[in-house]
Symmetry: C2
Subunit: 677 residues, 2 copies
């Protein structure tokens, strides 16, 4: 194993400086001959070679010891830690008597422990540190790539990708040099991610073949991810038995179909023994699925689960199922209800290795949605929650929008009220999944500051209880290596000032009060208030001259509030209790309705849109102050500056379109007399 | 010359039966050795071979004589006709003493005379017919193809094409078999068209090379068009001297640039001696042009005119120039003004062989627009009017929309009032141009009934005074060959019932009262009332809760009405006098404004949209009655039936979206209580 370093690509949160604290010291590694142990050794050697430290041989003195508990003769610092079961990925971290020690039961834990020390930096080598046990809260922490092999005529190389092309494929073939994939694996491992699905859930013809005659490409990718403890998953097309297998059906009850999947899966495992499993988007937005054969989603998922079970694989079966050919005239159909209506009745019918993957909200990755009630409705099913690190609806990596605060709210949401389990507990065995925001861009994520979202995803998936601002601080420290001086403090404060509240800022200048969408159809960037209003997509706001919002109450609306357990079924139902930020998701109200904040809905729309655009300008102004003072690489500064110009322009466009739209409709002037066109 | 017949392609208005009247008779051709005379001979021979008639040798008896006046020893029927100058394309037609005679000064006239006899059919051989002189009213009658060589990722093979791929190119290369191109030339010649531009005015990289190293492809196409009297033109990229010539400038004042165009044009004429000339879209929607060099459109056009002049070619320079990056907040900028503002000041500065090509309306091929004031503003410039046979904004060949009534209104419009010249007279030396609706579809035009638009374009370009319903009747007769029996009468009546008023029907269910657009951005099909409202494209309706429309008056608006001469500058300016159908193009009015028709604007919107959708359903019902009675080919019937289903669906969608939109905005209920969602 060689530690991957890629020229001309930004090192993100693993610059050489991040390894100085370890690399300048004497490090003892006591591990086995496994590949992951080899990675830890290589990392340590690489850091020490760069920063003047040394890999300690047994018997030599050391400042840091990284030891497997199974490793027989443990040094006293490590031996003293032995105690609770750490599991396949956990580790203990302590410092006593001038020695920092990491102990793990398994090599993956050792690797995560190593990166924990990287994150701590010098602090890992100061004073005493009582033993801390670290275990991931969630079993699977996964990134889904929506990468295509060919450039899709509409969606491009990466669907909803805003960071250039795919790091896996270019022009229909796998990249010749996959060093960058390994560097990506390393970045992910440092955050705690342990699974990656490599291709788009909309599986077109060329990508379908990854399962069969292009399997060697998946194997090649797996070889790059493996040294960093990441298992590779594959999105598959439900109709593969027809398209690839020459059968005339993909019916999950058909024995030939089941045999085809079993055989095909066996071949996958022959090539990739640690293959993770399949990801499936079925009967959704035109993708094939079990409905064609009169089967349900459990039938479909279980068929694949059965093929994967003998090999230890799982199927991620997406719950993103709704009627995308809805008639906008029909106000009784509610897309928000769809996932629950399809999946809740199937609870208990899914195999143990079938994971139902649920988007965090009931619609589609909006800036603000209530948490999907499906998550509370399937106690006897392994559930994963799906987030979107790629900023499809949150600024497309042209806007600064740090999403961890939103994810933190989702993961901490308690369906059954205070004291009851939070979402993070519900999905313990299922996991957290997110659509990646990475491409072949020099900064990985297009917008350099969007790296923070990728980082924060991994960290929250490992520990959903982490404070998003603390994660951001960690990311700033690793990525920008600010010094302890005034300049370093200023840089840190500037980035917090720009990013801590950026999700709320984005929310302010876009669709108001949880109503969602209002984006340009197709590419989903920028405002178009009525863009989806009269379409089959089921995403409406119903604004007229009197009011706006979707009535999803049981009393007078679509009844969606009834999909929640108490207390939320009552809170959302009640106009008086419904939180302001979700008001228009649940209720249709007159423009004069007074919010808990004390202002009317229409004045709130004006106020937040003026405020949001101003905040965007302030974010830009903060960054501008860093120019030329040497705290940030000039090229990175220039890239962010250009993007901030676009963010400010776009925020003003949002402000003016939304304000004009609602002024034209309501006729209510701004109480503060600001310009509305 | 062989008369082209293409298997598996619908013969349009030239089915074998159309030649029966001629082909069953004895025909004498007295012509020269020119290619066009050869075409006439071949057509006659082909018809006679098929229908049992005979080509008469001199001295033999004949029923029809087609003779060139220059042809020395004219038979008496022809000699008697000699008189007025007929010009290069005119002909005389007469019947006396049982002989029908066509006399022409030039071979093209003979060909047009031949097709005139085809159109007449048996009527050409009945009774006596006093001599009629036929000359085209307009010098150039031209179809522009917006065909691409490669499939454009957004626009496809044919930009704004709704009839399959290009008949010229497929997958980046010229079709191997060009018989279909010749068959197309024949169809056009039968209507009077004498010029075709073969490629898209948005000239991308591959098409730019048609001017130089791919010139052989243009020559090959010209060889197919030539036998039917059609000259080939080429859309060129203004920046060709840079892209193809290796110069660093395309400045029309630069001698190297001028020399490059002269040299290049000389080579074009060496390969295609009867080459027609260039078509240019410059400084428009992102295309390069003279503005980059501080030159104006006359400078640009004249440069190309000078290169073409020695060879007898012309340049068509499009006046479709406007700011497509307009700020929607800025109500003072008016796209409707743009062409006039750019071009009117240049009147008198264009070379004699430079033709300024003006879209019929000031915006962009809408269902209803006032006639472009540019046409009245450049008396010292050769002007061509550009129509759009391809139904970009008029139903995309999925809707029946017979456009000749609209074109007839445009050509007959009198800028200076009754008794003053009509548009058709203004453009005499410039001509009429239209974007073709033809593709490699089996019916040429996707919708079989859209053939009528292509046919009518040629006929109106030849004689703008023709009655659109009479043209349609002619087209029905040729295409469907209805018999004189009840069935034939019924078929004829059905098609008139479906098509005569179909433009008005389409207008009723789409954007109201001349306001335009309200289509889905990008593909321009189907409704999206606000789709362009907050975009940079300059096409707005300004609807708010009180009213709708664009104030283009001098008194309070953009002043566009001032671009018209009297009386129209006064008529359009006046709210009281402005024609209803253009009211919202010129005025912003409250929903309660009462139209000349006696109803309010809002009630008019509801009424016309309910009526339009009903009429669409009636059109479908008329067609359905023809099913299975043998009057129409079953495959054609099925194709039209499917398209009518889509038209009815789409008309209802328009109805409901427009009605809901304006109901939500105005709050005014339908006086007749019909369903508005």
């Amino acid at each position: 194993m060689t530690v991957p370093h890629v020229d001309d690509v930004h090192p993100a949160w693993l610059p050489p400086e991040a390894f100085r604290a370890i690399g300048a010291r004497r490090v003892l590694v006591l591990a086995d001959g496994s590949p992951l142990s080899g990675t830890v050794r290589a990392e340590v050697a690489d850091a020490c070679a760069r920063h003047g430290g040394a890999v300690a041989a047994p018997g030599e003195p050391y400042d840091l010891v990284l030891a497997l508990a199974s490793g027989g003769s443990l040094p006293p610092e490590a031996a003293a830690l032995k105690g609770p079961e750490l599991g396949p990925e956990g580790f203990l971290l302590a410092r006593t008597g001038g020695v920092t020690a990491v102990l793990a039961d398994a090599p993956a834990g050792l690797l995560y422990g190593f990166f924990a020390v990287v994150r701590l930096g010098e602090a890992a080598f100061e004073g005493e540190r009582p033993a801390e046990t670290h275990r991931p809260a969630l079993e699977r922490r996964m990134l889904d790539h929506w990468d295509n092999i060919d450039v899709h005529p509409v969606m491009g190389q990466v669907e909803r990708g805003y960071s250039g092309g795919s790091i896996f494929w270019r022009d229909g073939v796998l990249h010749e040099d996959l060093t960058r994939v390994r560097a990506y694996a390393r970045l992910l491992a440092a955050t705690g991610v342990n699974a990656v699905a490599v291709n788009n859930v909309n599986v077109h013809a060329p990508e379908a073949r990854l399962l069969t005659d292009r399997l060697d490409e998946v194997a090649a990718l797996a070889a790059e991810f493996r040294p960093y403890g990441i298992r590779v998953h594959l999105s598959v097309n439900f109709a593969s038995p027809i398209a690839l297998g020459g059968l005339e059906t993909a019916d999950p009850a058909d024995e030939r179909v089941r045999a085809w999947w079993a055989r095909t899966t066996e071949r996958v495992y022959a090539a990739i023994p640690d293959f993770g499993g399949y990801v499936v988007k079925a009967d959704s937005e035109g993708q094939p699925g079990p409905f064609a054969y009169g089967r349900d989603h459990a039938d479909g998922a279980n068929m694949l689960a059965d093929a994967l079970a003998p090999h230890g694989g799982v199927v991620h079966w997406r719950a993103f199922v709704y009627n995308h050919r809805q008639d906008w005239r029909d106000r009784s159909t509610d897309r928000a209800r769809a996932a629950y209506d399809h999946f809740a009745p199937l609870d208990g019918r899914f195999r143990d290795n079938a994971i139902v993957q649920v988007k965090y909200g009931p619609i589609d990755f909006q800036t603000r949605e209530p948490v999907s009630p499906v998550i509370a409705a399937m106690p006897d099913t392994r559930l994963a929650v799906e987030l979107q690190v790629t900023q499809e609806y949150t600024g497309q990596q042209r806007h600064v929008c740090y999403l961890a605060p939103m994810w933190s709210e989702v993961l901490g949401f308690r369906f059954w009220g205070e004291g009851e389990p939070a979402v993070a507990e519900v999905i313990k065995s299922g996991g957290l999944v997110a659509v990646s925001n990475v491409g072949d861009d020099r900064y990985w994520t297009g917008h350099p500051l969007a790296q923070a979202n990728l980082y924060a995803f991994g960290r929250l998936a490992w520990d959903p209880g982490l404070d998003p601002v603390a994660i951001l601080d960690e990311w700033i420290g690793l990525t920008f290596v600010p010094g302890d001086d005034e300049g370093g403090e200023r840089l840190r404060a500037t980035l917090h000032g720009m990013m801590d509240g950026s999700w709320r800022t984005y929310e302010r200048y876009t669709a108001p009060l949880g109503v969602g969408f209002m984006v340009r159809p197709g590419h989903h960037y920028g405002p178009d208030v009525d863009g989806y209003e009269y379409t089959p997509w089921g995403t409406y706001h119903f604004a007229d001259r009197d009011g706006v919002g979707v009535d999803r109450t049981r009393a007078t609306g679509t009844g969606y509030t009834g999909q929640y357990p108490k207390p939320w079924s009552e809170v959302y139902e009640s106009l008086a209790e419904c939180p302001d930020e979700l008001l228009l998701f649940f209720h249709h109200v007159p423009y004069g309705h007074v919010l808990h904040s004390g202002v009317t809905v229409i004045q709130h729309i004006y106020d937040t849109h003026f405020a949001g655009a101003e905040e965007a300008a302030e974010i830009r102004a903060l960054w501008a102050k860093l120019e030329g003072d040497g705290l940030v690489d000039p090229a990175l500064h220039a890239r962010v500056r250009e993007l901030l110009d676009e963010q400010v322009r776009s925020a003003e466009e949002w402000r003016d379109q939304i304000n004009s739209y609602f002024y034209r409709k309501s006729g209510v002037p701004d109480a503060r007399g600001r310009t509305i066109y």
